[in-house]
Symmetry: C2
Subunit: 285 residues, 2 copies
């Protein structure tokens, strides 16, 4: 099975209502008088990081990717559970983990430590508390909304390729917790850009049952000569969101298009309808 087939099969299992049909990056759990946000991201050697990566960067990134999911929900972090496979460079991992936990005031709640042979995997479950309800999801975009993205897209790609000024964007991405918190009450839909701007916009358009009309030349890219590569690469962890066009935004963001009634495809890019998400971004084969 590929990732999409497997997730489709998971949807046939008994799902918690807070799972939102597994169409979202994080689950929303109403507990007592609170709304918790739960997310889990895993990273594995060879797929998510190279064997020669600095484990301090890997640890940072593991925290950042999970916190980015919380950011997209406007949630503030409560703590994390770590799943760790012992290796030869545990000190570096711990150093990066400490930096990220201190930076985001993130306490450790628990987890599991195992011995593993071969390629190593790490996982993190992050728990957050919603700061605003209803919690933003991918499905609320409405015709007439403006489409926005924060920051610059493609920096992680260039950093991965070794461009020194963008290395930090790839090695040490910054989850936009404050931005997500500020935006949550104002957006109609929000998600973090982890798998590529076009793919994530396609998913949001599909979940909302609308078409995202996007003009590629409006998208803020790190390298205009490689605009379409930037739009297809993930790992930037910027926030993609829609809001009524008259909304006063409390954070810097670039308008990249407009939501229109469903025109038979989730995206219309430079006038061309895109019905098939293949090649729009990163998917696990």
């Amino acid at each position: 099975m590929n990732e999409r087939e497997f997730i489709a099969a998971l949807r046939a299992l008994p799902l918690h209502s807070g799972a939102r049909g597994l169409y979202d990056d994080a689950a929303v759990l109403e507990i007592g008088g609170e709304t918790l946000i739960l997310t889990h991201d895993a990273m594995t050697e060879g797929t998510h990081f190279r064997a020669d990566a600095d484990m301090a960067d890997v640890a940072w990134k593991l925290v950042a990717t999970n916190l980015s999911d919380l950011a997209a929900k406007g949630a503030e972090p409560v703590g994390v559970l770590l799943s760790y496979a012992l290796g030869s460079d545990d000190e570096r991992f711990l150093a990066g983990l400490r930096e990220a936990m201190e930076e985001y005031r993130l306490p450790l709640i628990g987890g599991d430590t195992i011995s593993a042979t071969g390629a190593r995997s790490f996982g993190l479950t992050a728990i957050g508390r919603a700061t605003y309800t209803p919690v933003p999801d991918r499905s609320g975009s409405q015709a007439g909304d403006a489409i926005y993205v924060t920051g610059i897209i493609g920096r992680a790609m260039l950093g991965f390729e070794g461009v020194s000024e963008h290395r930090a964007a790839y090695d040490r991405p910054r989850p936009l917790l404050a931005e997500g918190h500020a935006l949550a009450p104002l957006v109609t839909a929000m998600m973090d850009v982890s798998d590529g701007l076009l793919l994530d916009a396609w998913r949001m358009g599909q979940a909302s049952g609308v078409t995202f009309e996007i003009a590629s030349d409006l998208i803020p890219v790190a390298d205009p000569a490689r605009r379409f590569d930037c739009m297809r690469w993930g790992d930037d962890y910027q926030l993609l969101f829609t809001a009524a066009p008259e909304t006063n935004l409390p954070v810097a963001a670039t308008r990249i298009g407009t939501v229109v009634e469903d025109g038979f495809a989730p995206i219309r890019l430079d006038g061309e309808l895109i019905a098939d998400p293949e090649n729009l971004g990163y998917t696990h084969s």
Copy 2:
């Protein structure tokens, strides 16, 4: 680092108060007027299961080990987040996962699906709701308490070795959720036996600052000719607990000893003080 060293290093990170100093199998989170129990267990090929294992059994066991941690807290399951590495036998994994989820009425909340190369790892974060507070932990055993264990110890070992009548004990362990629920209000300390009865008793004695006087011939073992092997093997997921000796127990359990004042070691087995946990059970090197 080995597992113990790594966990010691984790204790130097910012810890959530609910982490209980990482001395417990599960975290306890007070949120919104509820008490949540959170636990994460991971399994990896080569260490926790063989490459030729039936993935349906692996999935079942992944669920069962996590629910066993909830059982030891007297918690009822709320749901799980799955961390899954795609492979060639995803259908079998899904089949076992479905069986376990249906058996324990356990909804899926979310998770992550990744591609991995080499040995595969799976993780599960289980969330439960405490049915009784204070939530049992390992540290409440008091001098004079009776020490009990449920069921028979060593069946998983024999099942692992291929003894057919014990195969299910190894392949499909049963988390004792109903038993944990019934015992939670009555025990002074409780944990599940995952790493070996002696090692887990040693840990409970140490956490409680007392000595567990245990008579080996009282321990209900699957093979009396290999009593000490049974006492050192894990994976049985029975419940080990202490309670005042006059307590009327609502579940079947065998008394294996008595808690006494700290005699300089967490365990006194057949009269011999055991200060060093080496060789008492399974630890990740």
